[in-house]
Every structure is written in C-alpha cells, then in structure tokens.
C-alpha cells in the first residue's frame, strides 16, 4: 500500500507503507488517521534530506524492529557501522546534520544511531580545540576553567 510523503518544499514522494513505517512518527500518524490516501506533510524536512531518509528506509525495510535498551553497556561501540551505512553516510557535514535532525524528528532510531556514531567517529581522538574547529563551536571557557575541567576529570582517563 503506497503512502505519499510531502516535504517542506512541497515535493511528493510515494513509498510503500512498510518503508514509511520505519519512522515511528509516520507509523503513529497512519494509525491515527486510518486507511486514507491523503499525503502526509513533513514540514520539517527538505526534499533533499527526505530523499536520503527514504533511501535508508528502503534499504533497511526488512530489518527487525529494534527494541530500545539503555541498559548494560556503559559504552556502546561506534565501530560496528555496516558497510552500506558507512557509504550512505559519506556526505558533507551539513547533510550529515540534516539527516540526524530528520531522523530525530521522524523517530527513526537506527538511522539516528548511525548518524550519532558517525559524529562520534569524527570526535574520536581529537583535542577539544580540534573538535571546536570541526564543528564550528565557540569556546566559552577561560583557559583556567578549561585546565580545571581537565584536571577534575583526569581520573576517568583510560589511556
């Protein structure tokens, strides 16, 4: 059964219901609305991003639904991204961020995880200054404050 998704810039995309329902937001909408042909508006997602998101959902349409768990693992690993996903995420930073925001809005946990893992991989091994440069973040610490923080958290260093 096809579902029509409408992006911010009024582009229509027709997808299978199964694909669309990878997004929990859309899934819930469809459940509320019932059997209908009317298109679903997604005012927070531009067409370029929506295209990418749909591509992801199509590829992963048969994946089992993830059960949310925030137990056990103090630290999940970020090096287990599958190859297709890795290629999929080889985009510029702006697109990467858009995908993450879209996945967050549309509630597509696996895509959100992949996005976050990708960002985590960018952060890995960088000094604070390098991180700021990578993401264009303003430093609002004084040098003394920065040194103080580092000292306070030194105990947690594992290398």
């Amino acid at each position: 059964m096809p579902v029509t998704l409408v992006s911010l810039d009024n582009e229509n995309y027709v997808v299978d219901k199964e694909v669309a329902e990878r997004s929990i937001l859309i899934k819930n909408m469809l459940e509320d609305v019932g059997e209908t042909d009317s298109p679903i508006p997604l005012p927070n997602v531009t067409s370029t991003v929506l295209k990418k998101v749909i591509e992801y959902c199509e590829h992963h349409r048969n994946d089992p639904i993830q059960v949310p768990d925030e137990t056990d693992d103090p630290r999940k690993r970020s090096n287990d991204i599958e190859e297709w996903d890795m290629k999929f995420m080889q985009v510029d930073q702006e697109m990467l961020f858009e995908i993450i925001l879209a996945a967050n809005y549309l509630d597509i946990k696996p895509l959100l995880d992949v996005g976050c893992k990708t960002v985590a991989n960018i952060i890995k091994g960088k000094t604070p200054e390098e991180i700021r440069k990578a993401f264009n973040i303003v430093n609002d610490f004084t040098p003394e404050e920065e040194a103080q923080i580092r000292k306070e958290n030194e105990w947690a260093e594992d290398r």
């Binding site: 911010l8 927070n44 531009t46 137990t71 103090p74 630290r75 999940k76 690993r77 970020s78 961020f97 858009e98 993450i100 925001l101 967050n104 809005y105 959100l112 995880d113 996005g115 976050c116 893992k117 960002v119 985590a120 952060i123 890995k124 091994g125 960088k126 000094t127 604070p128 991180i131 700021r132 993401f135 973040i137 303003v138 430093n139 609002d140 610490f141 920065e146 923080i149 580092r150 306070e152 958290n153 030194e154 105990w155 947690a156 260093e157 594992d158 290398r159």
Partner: protein
C-alpha cells in the same frame, strides 16, 4: 529546527556521547559549557576506583570525594580494587542510589621502589598502606551489603579475582550473612571466579578459594525464618574450610537440588586437623533427619567420603528425587550401598562408582537388576562369575531345579551407557594372572605346569578359553537385553582369542538398535578397528569405535 545543528540539542549530544570512550568524553567536556553539561554525566556513569590497565602511567588518580558526591546521581557502574582500600573507603559511604553494578577486583600492583608500600596520588594526598590492607578489605566486605540495600537497581555484584582474595572474618560474616544468603543476597551474582555469590533460583552459589582463616557459617542462621533458597551449590577448592564446616554450609540449604562438592587441597591442613572420628560424628549429627527433599544430583567425586559418610548422606535425602550420584574414588561401600538401595533404587539414573574399592561386583549386579530407571552406570569390575552365580541362585530358588538359566532380567532396560570392566575370572581355580592371558597362551606353556612335562588334562589355557567363551556369552546375552544401550565401554575383560569368538560375541550386540559407541580396552586392539567395525555392521546405529 532546520537551520539548527543537532549538536545544539542536548539529547543528541547525549546519544553521541554514548558512543565515546572516556578519554574522548573528557575532551568533549572542555569544548564549551553546553558540551560539558551534556557529556560530563556520561563520564560519571562508570566510576573506576582502581588501576586502569591501559593507562600509560603508573600513578593512580582518583576523583575528589566532593566531585563524587556531586555526581553520585549519575554513577551506575562501580569498579573498585581492594588493593586500594584505605583510599577507597571514603568513597563507599557516598549515597549513590542509582548503582547498577559493582565489581571488585584485585589487581596486583606493580611494586614501587619500596617493596612494602605503594604510594597513591589522590589529589595530592599520599596514602601508604602495608599489611593493614587486610583490615581494610574486611571493611570493604561490610560495605557491600549496605550498598545492596541502598541501591535498588543494583543487580550485579561481582566479587572475585583470579588470585586469592581475603574472606571476611567470622565476626563480619555473622553480621552480614543475611546479605549474602538472605533475600538481599539474591542480587549478588557470580562469575567463574567469584568468591561468594548467591542465587535465587537461577544461578548457582559458588564458594571457592578462601585463603584466610576458618569461615564459620553463623549458627544463628539456621534458626532464622528465611532459609537459604539456593538450589545449586558448588563447593570448590575451599582451602581453609574444614569438612564439617562445609557440611554445615550444605545443611543450610534445604532446598538444594544439585550439589557439587569438590575436594580441597589438603596441604592447608584443614582436613587433616580433624580426626576421622570427629568428621564422622559431625556428619551423623548433622544429617540425622531428612534434610534434603529435592536433591537430584549429588556429586562428590574424588572427595573421598567414607562409606559411613556416604551412607549418612544418602539417608538424609528423601526418597524419590535422587537421580544422579557421582561417587568416584570414594569409600562408597556396603553401608552406602544399602542406603542407596533402600531409598533410591527407584529413582537413580546415573551412578558413577568407579575406583571405589568398597564396591563389589555383587553390588553392581544387584544395581543392574534392581534399578529400573538406571541410564548410566560407571564402575569397576563386574565378575561374570557373580552374574552366573546369582542367576543360579535365583533359578534354584524358584524352581528348585538346576536348569540352564536364561539371563535373569536386568531391570535397567533403559540403560544407555555402561562403563565397566568385566572380570572373566571363574570362581575358583585359576589365579588372576592366567585369566588375562593373551591369545599367545594357546601356544605357550602355562605357568602352572613344570616346564617340559606333558599334561594329561587339557591345558589350563584351553579350559580357560572355553570358560571365557562361556562367560562372554553370559555377558553379551545379558547386554543384548539392554535395548536402549547407546554406549558400551568395556575396559578389559573380554577374552577372545580368535576373531570367530569375537564375532560371536558381537552378534549379540547387533540386537541393540541404539548402540552408537563402543569403547574397548587394549585387549581388543589386536583385532583391528576395521575388523571390529565390520563385525558390527549389522548394529544399525553404530557409529564407531572410540578411544578408551
């Protein structure tokens, strides 16, 4: 939201932080104030009060107490090393509330220049410790029950290490026994190296490797209203616990279903210090009444329990449930056998009596004849002469005639695995030396005849040969009634000097539809594996010979 960066959203920062190592998180906390607020709690999810094995330097850095107190809310996983006790104790009085797991490890600190003291840097305070470490470790043991009480989500407490850890003193134990055996203790789990773990229905309790002092299970415990609910108990290498103390522990567990009692190192002298009499007395005193109603499995292999001790044990187990008994290398004998037959012959399924000098061939035959549900029997010699004798006795009794007896029924028709040695020695005449003669004896002179003399009687070897054929038949006919037999393990005893004899014996095995594995002793190797396999072609499930 379109133009916003996801990194501006704290929930997304949190998710990203989930995938970062501690060191990367530390870098993130220095990026900006927002980042610090998001990433710092993640650092505190795991509190390490121990040496970090991958750290480049040798010094140890612990967070300040005030920092821990401020962030206690976030701490979910606590790892600590008992080696650092004096330094650690202040941290353990912090009210965490959200702990999920505690792990106590014992790392061997690398020696510093001085061999007796190690300096630790805790925010510029130097802690030296020497042998007082032990006292501090005891205090540590006292803290854990408190932590269990205060942290409802605390589900995993792992206490143990590969090297010997100290055990709490008896005073401490008395105070905190409830935490380890009572309801709270159900959240203390075990790893393979755990010192003390408790279980409630699911995991076994493993007590192993105590090194210090005698651990007295508090006697008051047996009178509390909540008994120990442990179902599986393993006592393993308890160096300093005397046998009677261990038995005391076992007694505390009336719901026990499965007991594995492994021997301790005697080198510590713990067992030697008790006289055999005192052990016997404590056994009898301890197990006077039916203590265990649900015990299924009793594994005391190699423990060298005496006959009387075995008997006491078996008498204390209610009828009906005991299925598996492993008594290898022990004093299991007449008394124990009597208790076994009295109470448990209808339930026993697995019986391992190998290397028990007190177990006679007759006992084994009686087991085969009476234990209907027996599936697995391992034992030493079953004398075929005894089989025959018992058959004859039976026939004589019922008919008063001497008739050639059909093999009297072995009740264990469900027997799947038989691991025994058949002793083919006839009742009287021949010395054991001639019984296990090799096929060559047909040609060589028997040792009973003076060299050079002619024998008017058939040579002892020949007679022995005929007899062994007969015995083979007795044995194999009997075995052929065990239709469920899957594994037959005959270590020694079948005397077949020719292939024909062997073939004849194996024909009986053809009747065993389930026979998969045959393990034969060295005697049989001379016939060649392939030949034997060929002879057993007709046994439809047969998979092959196995190495003894």
């Amino acid at each position: 939201m379109m133009t916003q960066s996801p990194l501006d959203l704290s929930e997304i920062r949190y998710m990203i932080g989930f995938f970062l190592s501690s060191t990367d998180l530390i870098s993130c906390t220095q990026v900006s104030r927002n980042w610090k607020a998001s990433f710092e709690p993640l650092i505190w999810r795991s509190l390490w009060l121990c040496r970090r094995p991958l750290r480049r330097d040798d010094t140890l850095v612990l967070p300040s107490i005030s920092a821990v107190e401020q962030n206690a809310y976030h701490v979910q996983h606590l790892t600590m090393s008992t080696n650092l006790c004096p330094a650690i104790l202040p941290y353990l009085t912090v009210n965490f509330q959200h702990l999920r797991s505690i792990k106590v490890v014992c790392h061997n600190l690398k020696p510093s220049k001085s061999s007796t003291t190690v300096k630790i840097n805790v925010n510029n305070n130097r802690y030296n410790y020497t042998k007082e470490q032990e006292e501090y470790e005891m205090l540590l043991w006292g803290v854990i029950p408190t932590l269990l009480r205060e942290n409802p989500a605390l589900n995993e407490v792992e206490i143990g290490s590969t090297s010997i850890c100290s055990m709490p003193s008896s005073t401490l134990w008395n105070e905190h026994a409830d935490s380890f055996f009572g309801n709270l203790g159900q959240r203390v789990t075990d790893s393979t190296k755990t010192l003390v773990g408790n279980s409630f229905n699911k995991k076994p309790l493993t007590l192993q490797r105590t090194a210090i002092g005698e651990m007295e299970i508090p006697t008051h415990y047996s009178t509390t209203t909540s008994p120990c609910f442990i179902k599986t108990l393993e006592l393993f290498k308890l160096n300093a616990l005397s046998r009677s103390t261990q038995l005391n522990v076992i007694r505390q567990c009336p719901f026990l279903q499965s007991l594995h009692w492994f021997p301790c190192h005697i080198e510590n002298g713990a067992d030697e210090s008790e006289s055999p009499l005192s052990i016997a007395v404590s056994f009898t005193a301890s197990v006077r009444s039916k203590v265990w109603s649900h015990l299924n499995l009793l594994d005391a292999e190699w423990l060298c329990l005496s006959d009387e001790q075995w008997s006491c044990f078996l008498e204390s187990i209610s009828q009906g449930d005991l299925k598996q008994v492993y008594a290898k290398r022990s004093g299991f004998g007449k008394q124990a056998f009597a208790s076994l037959m009295n109470l448990h012959k209808s339930s026993i399924r697995t019986l391992d009596l190998e290397a028990c000098p007190g177990v006679t061939s007759r006992m084994l035959i009686l087991v085969l004849r009476n234990c209907t549900y027996l599936e697995d029997l391992g034992a030493d010699a079953i004398k075929v002469s005894d089989i025959e004798q018992l058959q004859e006795m039976e026939v004589k009794d019922t008919q008063g005639l001497w008739a050639s007896a059909a093999p009297s029924k072995w009740a264990c028709i469900g027997l799947k695995s038989l691991r025994v040695e058949f002793d083919m020695a006839p009742k009287s005449t021949f010395s054991p030396a001639t019984v296990h003669a090799s096929p060559e004896c047909l040609n060589s002179q028997s040792s009973l005849l003076p060299p050079g003399s002619l024998s008017l009687q058939p040579s002892p070897c020949l007679t022995q040969n005929l007899r062994s054929q007969h015995y083979n038949q007795v044995v194999f006919r009997q075995i052929s009634t065990l239709k469920q037999l899957e594994t037959l393990y005959i270590r020694e005893g079948i005397i077949c000097s020719t292939r024909l004899q062997l073939r004849y014996c194996f024909e009986a095995l053809h009747q065993l539809p389930e026979l998969k594995h045959l393990v034969l002793g060295r005697d049989m190797q001379c016939f060649g594996k392939e030949n034997i396999k060929e002879m057993l072609k007709a046994a439809r499930s047969f998979q092959g010979l196995e190495e003894p």
